[in-house]
Symmetry: C2
Subunit: 192 residues, 2 copies
DNA sequence: CGTATTTCTTAACTTAAGTGAACGAATTAT
DNA sequence: ATAATTCGTTCACTTAAGTTAAGAAATACG
């Protein structure tokens, strides 16, 4: 399981055995059950996550309704907004499936980063990359219709459509569950 | 003018006079005329921008139509996607107004970052912050209607609505110019 | 195993966005 | 200065998403 983490890190920097051991000794690995809430609205957590296996989601509760805005699966890293701003969280994070994660505290990260400049470098490259990637995702979202967004998702993350409940997918696509059902029926119609 | 840049930097790290001089000696400042194209689709630029004064925009040309997805104004930093991925740009960047920018080459940045670890730290903090901020923007976009998005923009960036052409604003809000006109008329109606 | 709950789909109706066209106003080019 | 183009708004019409409600399917749970 640890290998997944080191495979991921190796895309950015190369680690010595000592450095790898330093990471392992932090004891970051956690198994979490489907349905577990990792972060609640209003909380002031310092934890960041990296998904080794499974799926977690970010959602808001607006007017009593759950609005899912993001899914994180294998090899995805998530630093919640509240960790950066040190303000209470505006959203929830919970497990869509039984998952294995690393959970790292931001104090811990500051310490590691100052001890190993290599991590600082990795974090910079990683967040620049994530920022650029997310910009493209946002641009695609803005410039396409719900139907195009669904077809796009089908191309880029086909697994999500299988493993995630429809009503969560719907808000992820910026529409209502009923509209997603209808839209899918429409697409099937067109194909035939 | 330089002070704006140093004010910005001081939010993240504090610089010595030597370090400030090192930056000034890079000769990053550029005046650009309204309408100037800074980056074209297909180009492989290494330049990043920081807006000291004015406004620049990111837009795609999709089926012959301009789709504006982002505006950068005073104190905003923009590293184009192609600089990160080293692939040809998918979008254009141009000046909405006469502007004063800093333009920095990524080779230059690598050099500075290795010379002054402080910059590395600043870049990491900055991109983490931008990533978090953009995530919230994306979430708000997903969870609200065009009308709510317009009202939200009116709150958060009222200047944009004044200084930017309507048809560019429209695609920024994910709709057509005609829909933006109608939506604004609808809001005025409601108020009275 | 069966009941309760949640989830997904369908349908009818409402509301808002997309489309194509027209027109005046503003901007730009010559 | 004038012509040409671009821009913003309005309108009528089309299409798709929101809403409300109902029923079927899947899932959770005692």
């Amino acid at each position: 399981m640890q290998d997944i983490l080191f495979d991921f890190i190796s895309k950015y920097v190369s680690l010595t055995e000592d450095e790898k051991n330093a990471i392992v000794s932090l004891d970051l690995f956690r198994s979490v059950e489907k349905g577990t809430t990792l972060l609640k609205e209003g909380q002031n957590s310092k934890d960041s996550y990296f998904v080794l296996k499974g799926c977690i989601r970010v959602y808001y509760i607006i007017d009593g309704e759950e609005k899912t805005t993001a899914f994180y699966t294998e090899m995805d890293a998530l630093t919640p907004h509240c960790v950066i701003t040190k303000a209470p969280s505006e959203y929830f994070i919970s497990c869509v499936e039984d998952s294995i994660l690393t959970v790292s505290n931001s104090d811990m990260e500051v310490e590691i980063n100052s001890k190993f400049p290599k991590f600082e470098l990795m974090c910079r490259i990683l967040s620049e990359e994530l920022l650029a990637k997310q910009q493209i995702d946002f641009d695609e979202f803005k410039t396409s219709s719900p139907e195009q967004r669904y077809l796009n998702l089908l191309q880029k993350r086909p697994d999500l459509i299988q493993r995630v409940p429809q009503h969560q997918l719907a808000s992820f696509l910026g529409i209502k569950p009923q509209s997603l059902s209808r839209l899918r029926a429409r697409i099937l119609e067109k194909k035939s």
